[in-house]
Every structure is written in structure tokens, then in C-alpha cells.
């Protein structure tokens, strides 16, 4: 995989995501906006070599986790990153069954990957919310977080269409079949 292009694409997509948040955020819905990093992560998990996928997932998950404040009063690093890793695993298992370069496949996989991210991250946040580790995160509920995550996922799936069209056209630049660059 062309890791230089990965860094550039990640930076660009993260900047676009942050820029579009106030523009596309749904008012009155807790600021729900599409997660473009999840689209990039899913697409890479679909088309990249399986050995590169976990590292790309970790990097994208960590950036997604650090770029927006989480639901607890403080910074916790790990739940979303591990969620991305789990999402990568899910897509790697499913990709043998689908047409990898199809846009419809990408949308479906974004949905599956997003569910994995939500389930893992919410599961890892429960000990904090319940007060099993440190102070209890008052007011946080797993069901509320899952509902919000599901709505965000629907929005992300809708936003996959334009971004997916662009990503699919850049496949030759990524050198997925060749040696790693950098």
C-alpha cells in the first residue's frame, strides 16, 4: 500500500470531516454528522492487503478518537480505536463474499463496520459509565449512545456515495497489489 498517499488522504478526509461537521450537523440531534474517516477505513479494509489493514485501522481509529470529544468527561483512548480494529476484522471476513470495488458494497460494508465500531466502543465505555473504573459518568447510557451511533451511521452511509465514488477512482494510485511504499 502507498502509505504516503494514506497519510495524505487521511489528513485531507479528517480536515473535510471537521470542516463539514458544523455544515452537515443535524440541529437538535446532538450534532450528528457523517464520519468520513469510517468510510476511508472501510474502503481500505475492503481493497487493501490484509496485512496492512490492522495498522491502517489503528491509525484511523486513533485519529477519529482524538479528533472529537467523547461522551465522557475526559479523554479516553482505546474504545473507538479498538472498534475500528474490530471493524477491519469484520470487513476482512466479509470481503471474500462481495464485489470489493462496487459502491453498493462499500455502503453496506460501512454500515457493518460502523456497527462493529459502535458495539465495541460502547462496550468498553460501560465500565467508565457505571463507575467500575474511576468516577461514574453521570447521565451516559449505553442505549442512548447506541441510538445516537446508529443515526450517525445512517448519515455516514448516505455520505459514502460521493466519497466512495472518488475513492474507487483512486485505486491505481494506492498500489494495493505492489510493495509497500515509504
Amino acid at each position: 500500500m502507498n502509505w504516503l498517499l494514506f497519510i495524505l488522504a487521511t489528513g485531507l478526509i479528517l480536515a473535510i470531516e471537521v470542516m463539514l461537521r458544523p455544515l452537515l450537523g443535524l440541529p437538535g440531534r446532538g450534532g450528528i454528522s457523517p464520519e468520513l474517516t469510517l468510510v476511508l477505513a472501510t474502503w481500505l479494509a475492503l481493497v487493501a492487503r490484509s496485512s496492512a489493514v490492522p495498522w491502517a485501522m489503528l491509525a484511523l481509529g486513533l485519529l477519529a478518537e482524538l479528533s472529537s470529544p467523547g461522551p465522557l468527561p475526559g479523554v479516553v483512548v482505546g474504545p473507538v480505536t479498538l472498534g475500528y480494529l474490530a471493524a477491519g476484522y469484520v470487513v476482512l471476513q466479509l470481503r471474500v463474499l462481495v464485489f470489493r470495488e462496487s459502491l453498493i458494497t462499500l455502503i453496506a460494508m460501512v454500515f457493518a463496520a460502523g456497527l462493529a465500531v459502535q458495539l465495541v466502543s460502547v462496550a468498553l465505555l460501560i465500565p467508565h459509565a457505571r463507575g467500575w473504573v474511576g468516577e461514574a459518568g453521570a447521565g451516559w447510557s449505553a442505549s442512548g449512545q447506541l441510538t445516537r451511533g446508529f443515526l450517525e451511521l445512517l448519515y455516514t452511509a448516505a455520505a459514502t456515495l460521493p466519497l466512495g465514488l472518488i475513492l474507487v477512482r483512486t485505486i491505481p494510485l494506492w498500489h494495493f497489489a505492489g510493495k509497500s511504499r515509504m
Binding site: R21, G31, P73, V76, G78, A138
Partner: protein, 281 residues
């Protein structure tokens, strides 16, 4: 054959274990370690975030009534529209006078002695039922520390939750989890009646509620709730927490008590600038 002990698979396992540990550590440790990288990333992304907010302000402005002079409608219709617009402007003028009256009440209680005002642009918002946070583009470089009070004009916005070098997270007042003591007064320039009471989170996000108000106690729609909570810093006292939007019979005991709904004057998650009150002493 000499094989390296650190194969990619082992390294990945190690990273996963580390992430599991950081996921389950108490927040006070993880916040201490990861606040720096998070705020550094926010600083890197701040040009994009600022651009997005500017575009959002331009593309989604407050709705207003347009006078469509170019449309083929009768003159009287357009004249009626213009009159309505003039009335609307007069209402706005009255609202401005009310605002002057409202802030004249603050003069009696506000104490900004020994406080400097650090103004910052909002870079991001995260709002949910559980946690309402705005990320503001000023941090320790401007003296901002956790616990400092954030305001918008004379309205209380919240308190700084975490502060990085160049940015800080402000937890909004609408995300309170315990009751706040407030002084509820009407917005007048004369000596007003006042009711000192406790407010708590309402049923809907962004609302507060005052329960069990005696029928004899004075409260009406439009009254302002000023902070009067001794657990908050001195400089936050008397800032406006919100305005009474509804007074109704208390469902638990409608014959004896009323309850009031209070909402912030401005929708806090939509603010584009904040002022952090930094104590100088």
C-alpha cells in the same frame, strides 16, 4: 536461525493489549496523558474547523422574512409585507431595550474584579443528552485552566473541563448533573421581586426545571435566572443561566404548586465565540 522477537503479529497484539489497558484506566490518568495529543490535533485541524463554521454561519443564517420586490404581486401586498417588516424591526428594538433592562439588573450583582476576559472562537461542538461540550480555541497559552467559567456576553455558558496548550473543552451548563441555585427576577430597571431557588435538568435536553414553586411565590414567563450558587466561582455569580419560558401547574401536586421551565437565551451548542473568565489573582 535468528528470528526477531517483535514480529508484526506480536506488535499488533501488544498494541491491542495497551489500548485495552488505556480503555479501562480511570479517566484522570488517560485525560492527563492524551489531552496534549488531542488538543494538538485540534490545533492542526482548527483552520478547517473555522472555515466550516464560517461557511455554516453564511449558508444557514437565521431565517428572516424577505421582501420580494421583484415578484409580480400587487403593490398592496408588498406594502403589507413592508409594514410587517417594520413592525418586526420595532419588536427587535423593543427586545434591545429589554436587553438593556436585563443587563441593568446584572450591574447590582456582577463582580469582575480581578478577572480578565479571554475571547476564543468555538472550534467544535459535541452535544448529547449526557455531555455537552464546546471546544474553544484558547488554552493554557492564554492562562485558561480547568474549572474556569465560560460566558457569552452576560450569559453563563459552562466551565472549562480540560485545557490543552492551544484549546480547551467547555462543558455546557445544560449538561449539569446536580441542582444549581439561581435567583429568578424579572428583567426590569426598577427594583425587582426575586425568588432564590434550585434548578435541575429538565425533561428535554437543554432545559432546566424548577419544581414545587409555591402558588404565592412570584414567577412569570420572561423572568431571568441568574446564578446564585456558592459552589461556583465568584465571577460566575449573577450571570444569566436562562429565561423562564413556561410556568405551569406542578403535575405532582397541581393544587399547591407550580413548576417553571427555563431555557438558555441563546442555543449554547450553536455559539461561535466564547469568553473565558480568567482570574488574575
Amino acid at each position: 536461525m535468528n528470528r526477531s522477537p517483535l514480529t508484526p503479529r506480536r506488535l499488533l497484539t501488544l498494541v491491542v493489549v495497551l489500548l485495552l489497558i488505556t480503555s479501562l484506566l480511570p479517566l484522570r490518568y488517560t485525560s492527563h496523558w492524551f489531552d496534549g495529543p488531542r488538543h494538538a490535533l485540534a490545533t492542526l485541524l482548527s483552520p478547517a474547523s473555522s472555515l466550516g463554521r464560517t461557511l455554516a454561519d453564511k449558508l444557514r443564517p437565521m431565517p428572516r422574512e424577505e421582501v420580494a420586490w421583484d415578484r409580480q404581486e400587487s403593490f398592496y401586498e408588498e406594502y403589507g409585507r413592508a409594514i410587517r417588516q417594520v413592525r418586526k424591526l420595532q419588536d427587535q428594538l423593543r427586545a434591545a431595550h429589554d436587553q438593556i433592562a436585563r443587563y441593568s439588573q446584572l450591574r447590582n450583582h456582577l463582580d469582575f474584579e480581578g478577572v480578565t476576559f479571554v475571547d476564543g472562537r468555538v472550534r467544535g461542538a459535541f452535544t448529547s443528552r449526557a455531555r455537552d461540550v464546546l471546544t474553544v480555541g484558547v488554552g493554557e497559552n492564554r492562562g485558561v485552566q480547568p474549572g474556569f467559567v465560560a460566558a457569552h456576553a452576560f450569559n453563563l455558558v459552562g466551565r472549562v473541563e480540560t485545557a490543552g496548550q492551544f484549546s480547551a473543552d467547555v462543558r455546557l451548563i445544560t449538561a449539569i448533573t446536580k441542582p444549581l441555585q439561581v435567583r429568578i427576577t424579572p428583567p426590569t430597571t426598577t427594583t425587582p421581586r426575586e425568588l432564590v431557588t434550585w434548578i435541575q435538568p429538565g425533561e428535554k435536553p437543554g432545559q432546566f426545571v424548577v419544581e414545587k414553586i409555591d402558588l404565592a411565590q412570584p414567577i412569570s414567563r420572561g423572568d431571568l435566572a441568574h446564578l446564585a450558587d456558592p459552589t461556583w466561582p465568584e465571577e460566575a455569580q449573577a450571570l444569566v443561566v436562562g429565561q423562564v419560558t413556561q410556568v405551569e401547574k406542578d403535575p405532582a401536586d397541581p393544587t399547591m404548586f407550580r413548576r417553571a421551565i427555563i431555557e438558555p437565551i441563546h442555543p449554547l451548542p450553536a455559539l461561535s465565540r466564547l469568553t473565558i473568565l480568567v482570574p488574575t489573582e
